[in-house]
């Protein structure tokens, strides 16, 4: 008897080093525990197997640095995971050797998301990234050599000390590699992190200048033929019919259910969202005994799900079918937002009313969402 979930996330927390700006669940050191962790992941998969559909659409290995995981263990994991049309692995450039690229390809990985962040040596140092620009480029070539035809580059704007010229140079470097997909995030200096402590004042000083960086990214990538399909994501619009959007992430933005495995991993299952405790020892201990790891469970009522549909759906260039978020949208606000030229309401092919943000509305997407929330 199989379940309905078609999207699987697997968290691999291990990293060589924790970068200052990072707020993901990561584990530094503990190299001896990779094998036990993969055992635990597979045990959790077995426990949750009944939730998964016969055929999965996407699998995503995120981290951490999945490619920092011991090669044999990574191969063992990939071999044991169910197959899917899209299998993505996140990789840090300094871990991508020709051998690793082949390993991933041979194990059925279809897409790699490469954490480049920047091509400027000084900015990479600010970010405490270990790779040099040359290493970033080389990693990309190794992936191409292993026949990866769907590579995403992760890049950051708003790095402390980043000038508009340095941003333009980064965009040029990225375009020169011609990746199928680019994720371009604004750096978030989370309060309380040592990064915010070290660079907060500089970021405040630069805040006004950096307001234009997002526009610069959108304009340059659009001009180069990339589709701005999600607030921070761009993909080549391919003529041969391939949809190069990140299918796994698209599932989040479309409000689909997904199962997450590993420490700190989140699952959304109907009216329930649960999050595994971000504690390695407890996770290993529970699953060694074939028991579910400690979790927080959040009940999602209809209104909450509708709010999330609004928040996520407006991030997409395809917009939000209003019927999915009806009870979370304030009608008066809808009128105001339309009058301000921030959104348009139109019928899609099936006659459903769809709310789509205008280009200016997308630049103010957070504020528009807050405005629309009933």
């Amino acid at each position: 008897m199989s379940g309905h979930v078609r999207h699987l996330y697997v968290h691999l927390p291990f990293c060589a080093h924790r970068c200052g700006y990072c707020d993901f669940v990561t584990v530094v050191g503990r190299e001896g525990q990779h094998g036990r962790y993969v055992d635990a992941l597979l045990a959790e998969l077995e426990l949750e197997h009944g939730l998964l559909a016969e055929r999965l659409e996407t699998v995503f290995l995120g981290g951490g640095t999945p490619t920092f995981t011991d090669g044999r263990e990574l191969r063992r994991l990939l071999a044991a995971l169910p197959s899917a049309a899209e299998v993505t692995v996140e990789a840090n450039p300094e871990t991508v050797t020709p051998a690793l690229a082949r390993l991933l390809r041979d194990a059925g990985v279809t897409r790699v998301s490469l954490g480049a962040q920047s091509f400027q040596p000084d900015l990479l140092r600010v970010l405490e990234r270990r790779a040099s620009p040359a290493v970033v480029r080389r990693a990309f070539y190794h992936l191409r050599d292993a026949n990866f035809d769907n590579i995403s580059l992760d890049l950051l704007h708003g790095i402390p000390g980043q000038s508009a010229a340095a941003l333009a140079a980064d965009i040029d470097e990225a375009l020169a590699l011609a990746p199928e997909h680019i994720s371009y995030y604004e750096l978030e200096a989370k309060q309380g992190t040592r990064f915010a402590h070290a660079h907060g004042a500089e970021l405040v000083r630069q805040a006004e200048a950096m307001e234009g960086y997002f526009d610069l990214v959108v304009e340059r990538l659009n001009a180069a033929g990339y589709r701005w399909y999600e607030t921070a994501n761009f993909c080549l619009a391919e003529a041969d019919g391939r949809d190069l959007r990140a299918q796994h992430n698209l599932a989040y933005w479309l409000g689909r259910d997904y199962l997450g495995l590993g420490i700190g991993a989140v699952s959304t299952l109907g009216d329930q969202r649960r999050r595994n405790a971000p504690r390695l020892r407890a996770y290993l201990g529970s699953l060694a005994g074939r028991e579910a790891p400690p979790r927080e469970v959040e009940a999602l009522d209809a209104r909450t799900r509708a709010e999330e549909r609004l928040m996520l759906g407006l991030r997409l260039d395809t917009g939000l079918p209003l019927s999915e978020a009806r009870r979370s949208v304030d009608d008066d606000a809808l009128g105001r937002v339309e009058r301000l030229g921030l959104a348009t309401l139109s019928a899609d092919g099936n006659g459903r009313r769809t709310l789509v943000l205008t280009p200016r509305g997308r630049r103010l997407g957070g504020a528009v969402t807050v405005e629309l929330l009933a």
């Binding site: 996330y9 994720s183 995030y185 604004e186 750096l187 978030e188 307001e211 234009g212 997002f214 526009d215 607030t231 921070a232 992430n249 989040y252 933005w253 997904y258 997450g260 700190g264 991993a265 989140v266 959304t268 969202r273 999050r275 959040e298 909450t304 709010e307 999330e308 928040m311 996520l312 991030r315 105001r336 301000l340 921030l342 997308r362 630049r363 103010l364 997407g365 957070g366 504020a367 528009v368 969402t369 807050v370 405005e371 929330l373």
Partner: protein
């Protein structure tokens, strides 16, 4: 008690000259309180009074001295409460006028002495604090004698702190203050000179019985208002409530009315019995006109009913407080309140916040204006309807937003200010008065060291920070009091603040034309700093009529996005947006522009520190 053996008196003094200490000593000496019960300032019961060292409410305490019944009616000391002082004085035949022998006669001493004389009271001048090394008892005595037209050897010399000379004060009260002279056999009449509200017993009236006699369980009529009730209890304070069989002609005490509605019994009304009613009420009080106005809005608009109830409660004990509902587009529902002065406003605000746990936004204070609009029909922009006025019609305006945009003339209230200042501070005080559009009247020299300056000043110029300025320019040595001196024409304009093209009614000001540019600029600059950027450009303007005199633009946000949002972030990001939404809901709406409450507060604070 035979009226011949009754004395009703008040103690009046400049703040800190020792009135409360003298009252304490009198209570002790007459064994009204035992040493164990004694605490400093027994009469000042409210928490706020204790903290500020001032007395807000009049209260009456009965003491006995050598076979006489003495009723001490307490009065507030501050200029704002002249009205309450005069109310208390109307229940007395005499007053002790206290002056600090180290300080001498102050502006307030002068004002209070005149009040007492107007009320035909026998004045007992008293030099207090003679134990202080820097005291000049003889100097103070001669100043006091000069003030009340008496001889210096008639001035009582006392140290309320040590008790020296206090017995002589009690003796003088018995000897020099005349007994009451009402008719004990006439139909009963009593003046309500104050009241308070007890949540269990209802309205408690403080009365001075003039004629006849009042009992418990008696049907009473309040003659002015027509309110009827049955007395639950009569009695007096000594210093706590002591029930008595009767309150007789000449006596001072309380009547528990059992009334639950504070509005049913007004201070100044005359009580009589229903069984044998008096034909004429006693002369009541002059209705005091509040001179300073400000609107009060609850920070949380849901607290409007609580604010209304609280004001109703305060008004029972403070007849000088007036209020009417006001609706502001920006700040919602509130009340425009009339106050006697700035201290009065501050005390009301503090009591509302402290005793009633309300969080308030208070607009810039303004005065009452008498406006003659142009004859004919004109559009009132803030209310958006046409108003028709006949020629020569004069309207009184208490709210700057209601000032007609065009006017034939505007008159503003002036006060006659008495300022007592050490002689080397005269120059600076004169400069301050000139800055504030003051007109010099004359100067007196009550003592070699001090000068009494008399100025006419627009009340609007002193409602902001005049007193603070006066104190800071004289290292705290200047004293200040004022009397209302009538309305005079002024070169006044209404300054409106517009946000996103919409006038913010609560921020409108009436001020002198010469100040409008600087104020307009300051308001606009501050608002530009305080209003967060919106999804569109927001012009912020200061305007006189249709003429914009200062303008800034709050540029639209260019970017406001959540950088990323994946499966693991959804809950956190949703909560972030929900918090932002909650923050938006707390904002005040001016047209399409969301203005945080803090922005109004900042602008209103700007108004507090005018220069």
């Amino acid at each position: 008690m035979d009226q011949e053996r009754i004395r009703n008196f008040s103690i009046i003094a400049h703040i800190d000259h020792g009135k409360s200490t003298l009252a304490d000593r009198i209570l002790e000496l007459t064994n009204t309180v035992t040493g164990r019960e004694m605490r400093a300032q027994v009469l000042d019961s409210m928490e706020l009074e204790r903290e500020r060292g001032i007395t807000i409410k009049a209260q009456a305490v009965r003491v006995t001295w050598k076979g006489h019944e003495l009723n001490l009616i307490d009065t507030p000391g501050h200029v704002d409460f002249t009205y309450e002082v005069s109310r208390a004085l109307q229940a007395c035949e005499g007053a002790v006028l206290v002056v600090d022998a180290a300080q001498g006669v102050e502006a307030q001493t002068v004002a209070n002495a005149y009040l007492a004389i107007e009320n035909d009271l026998e004045l007992l001048p008293l030099a207090n604090k003679i134990d202080l090394p820097q005291a000049d008892a003889e100097g103070a005595a001669s100043e006091l004698a000069g003030l009340v037209g008496d001889t210096p050897d008639h001035v009582l010399k006392v140290s309320a702190k040590t008790g020296a000379g206090v017995e002589a004060v009690l003796d003088a009260i018995v000897e020099r203050i005349p007994p009451p002279s009402g008719d004990p056999d006439a139909p009963a009449r009593a003046l309500v000179f104050d009241s308070s509200y007890d949540q269990y017993r209802g309205v408690v009236a403080f009365v001075r019985v003039v004629d006849g006699r009042f009992h418990a369980r008696e049907h009473i009529l309040a003659m002015a208002q027509g309110t009827r009730f049955e007395t639950e209890e009569v009695g007096f304070f000594s210093p706590t409530m002591k029930a008595a069989d009767t309150l007789d002609a000449g006596e001072v005490g309380y009547i528990i009315t059992g009334l639950k509605d504070v509005a049913k019994l007004r201070v100044g009304d005359t009580l009589t019995t229903q069984a044998r009613p008096a034909s004429e009420p006693l002369p009541g009080y002059k209705d005091v006109k509040p001179m300073v106005f400000a609107a009060l809005f609850p920070t949380d608009s849901d607290e409007y009913p609580q604010l209304r109830d609280a004001l109703e409660r305060l008004r029972l004990n403070d007849a000088s407080l007036s209020y009417e509902p006001e609706t502001s587009q920006a700040l919602g529902f509130g009340f425009r309140c009339g106050f006697l002065g700035l201290l009065h406003m501050e005390i009301v605000r503090e009591r509302l916040e402290r005793e009633f746990d309300l969080d308030l936004l208070v607009t810039a204070p303004n005065v009452a204006y008498r406006v003659e609009p142009p004859a004919g029909e004109w559009l009132e922009p803030t209310v958006a309807y046409n108003v028709t006025t006949p020629a020569g019609d004069v309207v009184e305006v208490h709210n700057p937003a209601e000032m007609p945009p065009e006017r034939e003339r505007v008159d503003e209230p002036y006060v006659r200010a008495s300022i007592v200042v050490p002689k080397d501070g005269v120059g600076q005080v004169m400069e301050l008065c000139t800055d504030r559009r003051g007109r010099f009247d004359h100067m007196e020299y009550p003592s070699p060291e001090r000068v009494l300056l008399v100025y006419e000043l627009p009340l609007a110029e002193i409602v902001f920070d005049f007193y603070d300025q006066l104190k800071s320019r004289t290292s705290g040595y200047a004293g200040f009091d004022y009397d209302f001196a009538g309305f005079r024409e002024g070169e006044l304009v209404r300054l409106d603040v517009l946000v996103g093209g919409e006038p913010v009614d609560a921020l409108s000001l009436v001020l002198h034309r010469d100040e409008a540019y600087a104020r307009g600029r300051a308001l606009v600059d501050r608002l530009r700093e305080e209003i967060p950027r919106q999804m569109f450009d927001v012009p912020v303007q200061a305007a006189i009529g249709s003429r914009v005199i200062a303008r800034e633009t709050i540029k639209a946000k260019r970017k406001d996005v959540l950088a990323k949002c994946y499966g693991g972030d959804i809950t956190r990001k949703r909560k972030l947006l929900e918090r932002q939404k909650a923050g938006k809901r707390r904002m005040k709406q001016v047209g399409a522009v969301e203005v945080p409450q803090e922005a109004f507060l900042a602008v209103l604070n700007l108004n507090d520190t005018k220069r």
